[in-house]
Symmetry: C2
Subunit: 152 residues, 2 copies
Amino acid sequence: MTEREFARLTTEVADRAYLTTVGADGYPRTRAMLNLRNPSLYPSLSGLFAAHRDDLLVYFGTNTASHKVGEIAACARGCAYYCHPTRWHGVSLIGDLEVTRDRELRILLWQDAWTAYYPAGVEDPDYSVVVLRPHAVSGWNGREAFRYDLTG
Amino acid sequence: MTEREFARLTTEVADRAYLTTVGADGYPRTRAMLNLRNPSLYPSLSGLFAAHRDDLLVYFGTNTASHKVGEIAACARGCAYYCHPTRWHGVSLIGDLEVTRDRELRILLWQDAWTAYYPAGVEDPDYSVVVLRPHAVSGWNGREAFRYDLTG
């Protein structure tokens, strides 16, 4: 398996994603997020992410009022970490974060169960989307560390 | 339960810890680590960490030659994230990282199974310890986000 195939599969097998932002104080902060790239958990999104199998683009739903939204506005640098639920296989996708309220994107990602987070549904003003555009991958395949650039 | 009690218990129930460093490029990188604060997984260390129940000090074993060691030398800012294995309960411990080869500390933390990582045992030159001294906690208790300072 190539490193690229390993990285993509790891984002798909992970039960959660761990999103890290950098605060105004320069310190990183991490939190668990729904892993929308997992096709067993989010089958309706598998086609969307199949189109991003090479660039490893990531989307997350988020509360517009959350701390992370303010942090991303102040510093775009971030990463999303994915690891196998039981093995020591993991990848960090490293890149710039953006928060958007793009309506098509909100509709594209929407899951019915999300009314628990956004009571007003897909048009809830507290429903935003975080986009991560990775430019590099840093990982551990169980034997050794690897890194590669995604750009170009 | 107070936020402090919640934070301590979350570090103890988590199956893994997610350690984030900041690279020379200013981007964060995360990787899964053994959660030595989990007393079910590491009963021999439970007394050690009981003494750090309030300051939430963290230790990790690491390969001296690992990327993270170089990153910590260049930038001390980091965080360790812990979350409940099945619930959406998590805390980030935010603070400065240090890598040490202090012999007493290496012996104190040593686990027999670690010869898989450090074939020469506790004196293996590739066995180092990462220390995280948190100054703040950022978490999610399943209902709301919370933050507090640990200093003072």
